[in-house]
């Protein structure tokens, strides 16, 4: 089922884009970039709802009722949680909405990793599985095997650049950095130390860059290309909607951009 729903369509789409691009050197990297843009477009409504959810969470922090229950039940965490859930329910807010796009990304990342590995076919078994994966109407014998070169990278291998005798994992660093920027920009600002969703977002902004950076360090660099493009597009999407929280990026305590706009 995973094969049919995720791997097969993804691999065929990648091959199709690669074929259209002329299947020369660097084209598989471009195919991954175009694929990422396509995924971003498909998940645009989801991301938009996340932006909306984050916005609602931010506004909630300034709500009088919300602030009142924080004070009232400061020493009764269980009651506070119950009251918070009631307010979430009353106002139709999903406190975990900001995590959803990240969660949705994971099946895509896993599928993409497996599709890239399969498409680049480093072993005879990979090649055989690729043959099984290709839709009968795809005419791809002239493009197989794929050219794994993209810029200075082999997309099927983890990336590093030799600098003064050291293997510098530039892509992993860029992945961690762009993930951190994106998480920071989308993180709701809260002055309330007990706000769980803000705490969760804060923890995410710490752990996610390390996690994705570690993936980039150890897995095929094609995945890193996906991470970077996805992060940059995420930032662009936020910035385009005027909700990017630039103050978070520079550690300023000033109010978020959205509030200023209002």
């Amino acid at each position: 089922m995973w094969q049919t729903i995720i791997i097969q369509p993804m691999t065929n789409l990648l091959l199709w884009i690669y074929d259209i691009l002329g299947h020369g050197p660097h084209m598989f990297g471009l195919a991954i970039i175009l694929f990422t843009i396509l995924i971003k477009l498909i998940t645009w409504p989801l991301n938009a709802s996340q932006v909306k959810g984050a916005q609602a969470m931010q506004e909630l922090q300034n709500d009088k009722e919300w602030q009142d229950i924080q004070k009232k039940y400061a020493k009764d965490k269980e009651k506070l949680a119950q009251e918070q859930m009631r307010i979430y329910k009353d106002r139709g807010i999903n406190p975990f909405a900001s995590c959803l796009p990240t969660l949705v990304q994971f099946p895509i990342i896993i599928g993409l990793y497996q599709s890239i590995t399969r498409a680049l076919s480093a072993t005879p078994l990979d090649m055989l599985q690729l043959a099984r994966t290709i839709y009968p109407f795809q005419n791809v014998e002239n493009i197989i095997p794929l050219n794994s070169k993209f810029l200075w990278m082999n997309l099927g291998q983890p990336e590093s650049i030799q600098v003064l005798g050291f293997a510098l994992p530039t892509l992993a660093i860029i992945v961690a950095l762009t993930t951190w920027i994106q998480t920071k920009l989308t993180m709701p600002t809260s002055s309330n130390p007990n706000d769980q969703s803000a705490q969760m977002s804060k923890m995410m902004s710490i752990y996610m860059p390390f996690l994705l950076g570690w993936f980039a360090l150890n897995f095929a660099s094609g995945i890193s290309v996906y991470f970077i493009v996805s992060n940059v597009l995420g930032v662009v999407q936020y910035a385009a909607t005027g909700r990017a929280n630039w103050s978070n990026l520079f550690g300023s305590k000033s109010a978020p951009a959205t509030n200023k706009k209002k």
Partner: protein
């Protein structure tokens, strides 16, 4: 639940999910290689190469004694006249080793580690020279002591199949759709022919040239001066090398998972197919094996079958697992090395009766 713990739990769960999906491939990441000298079978399967007594099915030796995560063996081992067993590692150490076929001990002072890629293809040994193709696209030229005696020849594309020679020229296929023809002595290029599709299998020498199949769903005949023509179209990609038996060329295509591969028997004298629609159960990767009047075929669905010269099934067995490795004849037994089966090797007599199976001890 504490927010920090919850966040950490979610991230760890996602990380574990990702890791299990990405690195969940078994250590044995492709099918085994199989060779025989008539008394012993040599099976390369993952971390080890096993020498197995053909009469008893018992392990004689294994190499290395302890598994090494940097070494993986899947290429078909090659036996030389002076008793060496040559094989390259598909692991990260890129080592090409020579073993004493009798004892399994290393022959050379150190393995050859000059290649940048993995060793998928078996080497060609001609005279005192080893011609070893690598996935880095180079053909390495070694003497029988494992020393490079000439600069490697850059062919381009990953090299997955053994080169062949007619005594004057070397023919070698590449995944970059080419068949390269080299002068055996000077190693200079004679010609390169574009097949229109990747060629993971070896060419077959015969009829004053070579026959080669490819993912272009065709069999081409190539002459020493680079002349070439398509002599047969197939329904799907051709993976294994064709087999020439007298005036007849046998080959098979991969086929689709639902309809299976197709076996072909081409009369070269008339350029006509001897039979029409022989489709065993399952896709076919391996080359056929011809013994006397029977053609032995193995399939991905685990079928091992004997056909007569008219394409009729004489017998069919299902040893277990998937079978991608070409069967070999060793003495009175047919040997089959399945992938993902309970055993690594099985021996059958020519009537299809199983004699023994070999399962490596852990």
């Amino acid at each position: 639940m504490n927010t920090k713990r919850l966040t950490l739990f979610i991230l760890l769960a996602l990380g574990a999910l990702f890791l299990s999906a990405c690195s969940g491939q078994p250590l044995v990441n492709t099918w085994p290689g199989l060779a025989t000298d008539g008394e012993r079978a040599y099976v390369s399967s993952g971390s080890f190469i096993y020498a197995v007594d053909v009469q008893t099915g018992r392990e004689v030796w294994r190499y290395p004694a302890e598994a090494d995560s940097k070494q993986l063996f899947f290429a078909t081992p090659v036996l030389t006249e002076d008793g060496q067993l040559l094989i390259g590692s598909e692991g990260s150490n890129h080592a090409f080793v020579s073993l004493d076929a009798e004892t399994g001990k290393e022959n050379w002072s150190a393995p050859f580690t000059g290649a940048k890629g993995k060793w998928v293809a078996p080497p060609l040994v001609f005279g005192d020279t080893i011609y070893a193709p690598n996935t880095d696209g180079f053909l390495y030229i070694l003497n029988m002591n494992g020393r490079e005696i000439a600069d490697p020849v850059e062919l381009g594309g990953a090299l997955w199949s053994a080169p062949v020679t007619d005594g004057t020229l070397i023919y070698i296929t590449s995944l970059d759709h080419q068949v390269h023809i080299l002068n055996l002595t000077t190693l200079t290029f004679v010609d390169s022919i574009d097949l229109g599709g990747a060629a993971p299998g070896s060419p077959t020498v015969g009829a004053g040239g070579v026959f080669v199949g490819s993912f272009a769903s065709a069999i081409e005949f190539i002459t020493p001066n680079g002349g070439h023509e398509v002599i047969a179209q197939t329904d799907h990609w051709v993976w294994g090398a064709p087999v020439l038996d007298g005036e007849t060329l046998y080959f098979a295509d991969l086929g689709y998972a639902d309809v299976g591969g197709k076996v072909y028997s081409l009369d070269l004298a008339t350029n006509r197919q001897n039979w029409d629609n022989v489709r065993p159960d399952g896709p076919i990767v391996a080359s056929p094996l011809i013994v006397d009047e029977q053609i032995y075929i193995v399939t991905e669905n685990g079928a091992f079958l004997a056909l007569d010269r008219d394409g009729r099934i004489v017998w069919e067995k299902t040893p277990g697992g998937k079978i991608y490795t070409a069967p070999v004849l060793s003495g009175e037994f047919l040997l089959v090395a399945p992938y993902q089966a309970e055993f690594a090797l099985a021996a059958y007599d020519l009537d299809g009766k199983q004699a023994w199976t070999f399962t490596p001890q852990k």
